[in-house]
Subunit: 715 residues, 2 copies
């Protein structure tokens, strides 16, 4: 079988278009590099068996064991039926040419070839890592057919575009329990991410046990931290899934929680309490005292022993310098050293820390701010500033990772993250050698507004789109295909135990205080949390780490698929090429929104948590009525009167304003209907919903100047 | 505050009716013994605090910690905000007069008094166990109000009717992983069950590590067993929730899996393989060899050390005696001892085993069969035969537990389990002293057709109704109230991580092979698995422990609430006292059923797992059409023609037959509509749906003579 398939593959000369189409016909995310469809399918039944040929290592056996467990869950058959057999006649023959490094390395080969015919399947890879990736592809291929579960006949050759594809989880601002991390590691493996960046310390919490400095977690964590055994368990769990674990200890800023137990590290007089507010704060380590480096040497030595990965992240972002300015000794030191400002002082600190990190055998990672020509070229820059800043670093010989554009806490659409390309802007015109220094990117889950209950919904499914950007060829960028497959991946991730979908109804039920949440759901389905950093700015009173995350804004999804589909239908409608049924779907939705207020209002009076959404519900009702009236004008072919249009547009403007820190995402589409009903040109042949322009009309979504300002003080 | 409330309680003389009504106005399950409603409520906000006055023990602190974690989840506030404070000014002051036994005992005091005013709450109990029960009541009282989360002002005095309220899980037939057991322990604690009966060995698997006899799990479990550390973890987890753990090692029958590694224990020549089929099998221990008792002495010694509970269950059920009959040495032994039959031999075995169990400090439990006057009065009988058999034992001085009527694998309605009363039949006329020997009861989850995926849906929520029967006063028996509260408890159990609801849609999606399961759900919502042991009898081919449990019958609920509500509406309708909207709801449902076949049929052709439900879908469609036509006759006040009625009733008979091992539960109600449309008397003022008579018209649900026969060979 293998020979035949290989021959087929040799005979076919793909065009780029054919490749893309073949890829997209499969429900895979990320899409593989090369796909050749065969005919027929391979049935996966109780007699399914696996053999491992070639190179054997414990990690491979475990990978196959995990695979069989997942496959068993997927098709609902007991795992006992699917045993690893040592035979070339197995349904799936796995062959790894080599093993893997004892500690997973950046750039280790993850490629694989998966060949499936109706007689059997072969998975070949140079390493166990490639086998892991290929097995995930196999799982995603499983379909329901009239003959039972099956995978289609196909030949796939696949490898990642970037060697470093990460997810950062900030467990400092809100502690995230182990089981939540583990299910997110499962999610990462499913979409072929390979770096878990663990942001372990923050002003609001120091989250890991230090045996050398037990007051770090003892006084800096409210008791919410990981023991070293637990950390080892996470590392082992990640390794079994082909994922590196990179710890981050943010310094010299973001360190208030360290100073509760060890105030002598700080630049201010102390004492310090665990920070409860959000923002950038004054406390920073004292870079002028030798004791600081002695402490860090011992601490980094301990953590370097605990975390086997080559990379060690020291943060280095957002030092406001106020404690340094206020400390005469530090000022004297800077003067004596001829330092021109706090940037010089931080650079000095980074140099010292880099030497310590290097002494303990690690490569230093840090955020944009650490980049200064006085640091060696071995360090890696994680950019929150964007591809241009990354390109600049690459030109100077530094390696880097893109995170700007991948901050999932900013509540952007999957589309917008998907459009963020590491090799764009100045990076597009780098030499191939320089481009190689751009190692990939990382989705960042900052923790101000996440709890164990809603964090999955902030990470998934949007992070799968980022994963595809980082794995798949650059020409994979069809947004409609992405959204289609994202919906399937989202369900697939449900099956892995992620709660991005399953936590939605329970949270709404808690808010409504009843089981029947139909009316609340109609509203919740079309709103999104405000974008970028406007949640802080629109807060009635400042939120803290102790604020309950049980409000409607905490439950609703970052991206409303109802609003997206509604926008698509409205665009078709006003462009005059509506699909059959499209108008009636639009009308049904508008009707439901108009009438929903009557259902929801009595509930609002019974629940404190519902009170704040009353204005949203009223606005949605008004939007429904306005949209229906506009459709009526359109249907009758009679232009809407100017006065009516003006009044309705004012109402839409009102409805676009954030309320309860949420936005009604269907407002721009209703505006289109109103403008179209008045024959206004701007509503003419609309841009397809898949273009970012079309979906960025809501305040804050694109980021105005205030936003750039804000970002300067933010990672 | 406490004094005032206590005074109020003293002043009020309850009538029984008032008590029942007050109890039922609260969403509690099980209902407390005494409830006195106050006015107002106590708001549960971020400043909520708890203090522990009086007796302190680690178990109490842990109970409060678990409570705070659950409360935090329930209201969506971070646990950090709710700390145990040592002050009488706490929102909730907990006072336990005494601690608990180091090993939880049968009959330890579980009573508590909970007094809530709008200023604060007090929970008083004689023991930590009572505090645990009271905290569960507190959690269930939390409501959503216009002022935020709150508990109503109320005074509750509560204690259980029976001291032993259990859930048995059979992990022998299908292995059930630790996390599934743990979430079920959470569910048990929520409804105040206090005994986890762990059925650890079966023909199909020996599920626990023995260090003395490692071939037990080594050869008898397919690698699916609990290590002793895991067992200790389960016991500790249960203890923190006030639950005893009683292990069962079924012997001398149900022991094939033991014999794979230790064939010398058996009465037959061997060799033995792990049994894959279901049923009662020949292998049994050899009661005539001293080596058998030597082995059991060592084994029971090991297990008695591992399981701290006083009770030790030796099974003792369903020995068919065939291996004994076929073994000349055993026959010779029986002859020499003057034994008249296999019953005598088993009694001899039980006596020997009882002495071993007793020697290791334990009280022996066993199924009905072990009851023989030659065993000491300390043993406890678990009855699968019913209250009469239990009463007989009690009269002889034996203590007993009722399990007959509580077998949740038989797919009975909650109502039917709820109607099963331990002190009914002959037990009702026992003397008070004899009645005290009836210790309570136990829901039994036998494992032929459960997997980690669907086991919760077989246990919950119906087991909560059993829990109420065993905890609440005997006069608590309003079925409508039970169903109303059961629905709320079901959602409450969701919040604890139980998957009885959440696994439904994913299983249907897997079967349909697509995300949109609307049509399949319409069908699945009105069918139930066949009742009693008819699943085996109606199987196209015999199921084994290796059969996938991924079929529609494995996904659908044991009890269809759609069918129950439909029956209620039809009953109102044909009785001529329909509530407003009732007829239109009935019509909507009938319409949906009639039209559903058109939606579902194309999907059936694409999925092997859907194929078998095609006849069900056709029958449901026909029922929908017949019901609509009957309603039409009724609306027009024109009797339906006899020929039409005859044809429709034939169709209903057809639809009542099991298909794909499922029953369409709305068929009897449609039959009622048809008969009513013909003016047939039998359809007249219908019995309310809450009476068992009304819901037992489907084959097998009440159990015919074949069923009794079957039960003789079954536990």
């Amino acid at each position: 079988m293998r020979t035949i398939l290989a021959a087929v593959m040799l005979c076919v000369l793909f065009t780029s278009v054919v490749k893309v189409q073949a890829r997209q016909s499969l429900n895979l995310m990320p899409l593989p590099a090369k796909v050749q469809m065969g005919s027929g399918h391979l049935v996966i039944g109780p007699t399914f068996s696996v053999s491992i040929a070639g190179q054997h290592e414990a990690r491979l056996d475990r990978a196959v064991e995990i695979f069989l467990g997942q496959l068993g869950l997927q098709i609902g058959m007991p795992p006992i039926d699917m045993q690893v057999v040592d035979s070339a006649n197995a349904t799936l023959v796995i062959q790894a040419a080599g093993g893997t490094k004892s500690v997973q390395e950046l750039g280790e080969d993850e490629s694989y070839r998966l060949e499936i015919s109706n007689a059997g399947a072969r998975l070949n890879a140079p390493t166990t890592l490639g086998v892991m990736r290929g097995l995930q592809t196999f799982l995603q291929l499983v379909q329901t057919t009239s003959e039972g579960f099956a995978v289609p006949a196909v030949a796939i050759e696949d490898s990642p575009r970037f060697p470093s594809r990460g997810l950062m989880i900030d467990v400092g601002r809100h502690f995230i329990p182990l089981d939540v991390l583990k299910r997110n590691l499962d999610g990462m493996a499913a979409v072929k991410l390979n770096v878990f960046h663990w942001h372990l310390s923050e002003n609001q919490g120091f989250r890991i046990e230090s045996k050398k400095f037990p007051k770090l977690q003892g006084m800096g964590s409210d008791g919410l931290y990981y023991t070293q055994d637990e950390v080892r368990a996470v590392i082992a769990y990640a390794r079994e899934r082909g994922i590196r674990v990179v710890p981050e200890f943010d310094m010299p800023g973001h360190t208030t929680a360290w100073f509760v137990g060890y105030p002598e590290l700080a630049s201010g007089p102390g004492s310090y309490q665990i920070e409860r507010r959000w923002g950038v704060f004054d406390p920073a380590m004292d870079p002028t005292r030798e004791e600081t480096y002695k402490f860090l040497d011992a601490f980094i030595s301990e953590m370097a022993g605990l975390f086997p990965d080559q990379s060690f992240h020291i943060g280095g972002d957002e030092v406001n310098g106020k404690e340094w300015d206020a400390n005469p000794k530090i000022q004297a030191f800077m003067h004596a050293q001829g330092m021109k400002g706090n940037n010089d002082l931080q650079a000095y600190f980074n140099q010292r820390v880099q030497k310590i990190v290097s002494k303990h055998g690690k490569t230093m990672l840090g955020w944009d701010e650490i980049l200064r020509p006085d640091l060696p070229k071995t360090i890696v820059i994680q950019s929150w500033r964007g591809p241009d800043s990354l390109a600049q670093a690459a030109k100077q010989g530094y390696r880097g990772l893109l995170s700007s554009g991948y901050y999932v806490d900013l509540m952007w659409s999957a589309e917008r993250h998907y459009a963020t390309e590491p090799l764009s802007g100045a990076a597009a015109s780098l030499t191939p050698e320089e481009q190689k220094r751009i190692l990939g990117g990382e989705a960042c889950m900052w923790g101000e507004y996440v709890s164990p209950e809603n964090i999955d919904s902030r990470i998934w499914p949007r992070t799968a789109a980022i994963a595809e950007r980082l794995w798949s060829p650059q020409d994979v960028r069809d947004v409609n295909s992405m959204y289609q497959r994202l919906a399937l991946v989202s369900t697939w991730l449900d099956g892995l135990g992620l709660t991005h979908n399953s936590s939605y109804a329970p949270m709404l039920r808690r808010i409504a205080g009843k089981d029947d949440i139909a009316a609340l759901k109609v509203l919740a389905d079309v709103v999104e949390p405000v974008k970028d950093y406007t949640r802080e700015e629109t807060a009635p009173s400042p939120a803290t780490s102790e604020s309950p995350l049980n409000r409607v804004v905490d439950a609703v999804r970052p991206e409303s698929s109802t609003a997206r589909k509604f926008a698509d239908a409205v665009n078709e409608l006003v462009a005059g090429h509506a699909k059959p049924g499209s108008e009636s779907r639009v009308k049904d939705l508008l009707n439901r929104w108009r009438d929903n207020q009557v259902e929801l209002q009595p509930q609002v009076e019974k629940s404190l948590l519902l009170k704040e959404v009353a204005p949203l519900s009223q606005n949605l009702s008004a939007l429904g009525a306005a949209g229906l009236a506009a459709l009526d004008y359109l249907d009758r072919g009679e232009p809407a009167p100017a006065a009516w249009v003006t009044a309705q547009l004012a109402l839409v403007e009102q409805a676009k304003k954030p309320q309860a820190q949420m936005l009604i995402m269907v407002a721009p589409s209703v505006e289109k209907l109103i403008r179209a009903s008045a024959g206004q040109a701007s509503a003419g042949p609309a841009a397809p919903s898949s273009s970012p322009e079309n979906r960025s009309t809501l305040m804050g979504q694109r980021g105005g100047p205030w936003n750039l300002r804000k970002l300067i003080f933010r990672r």
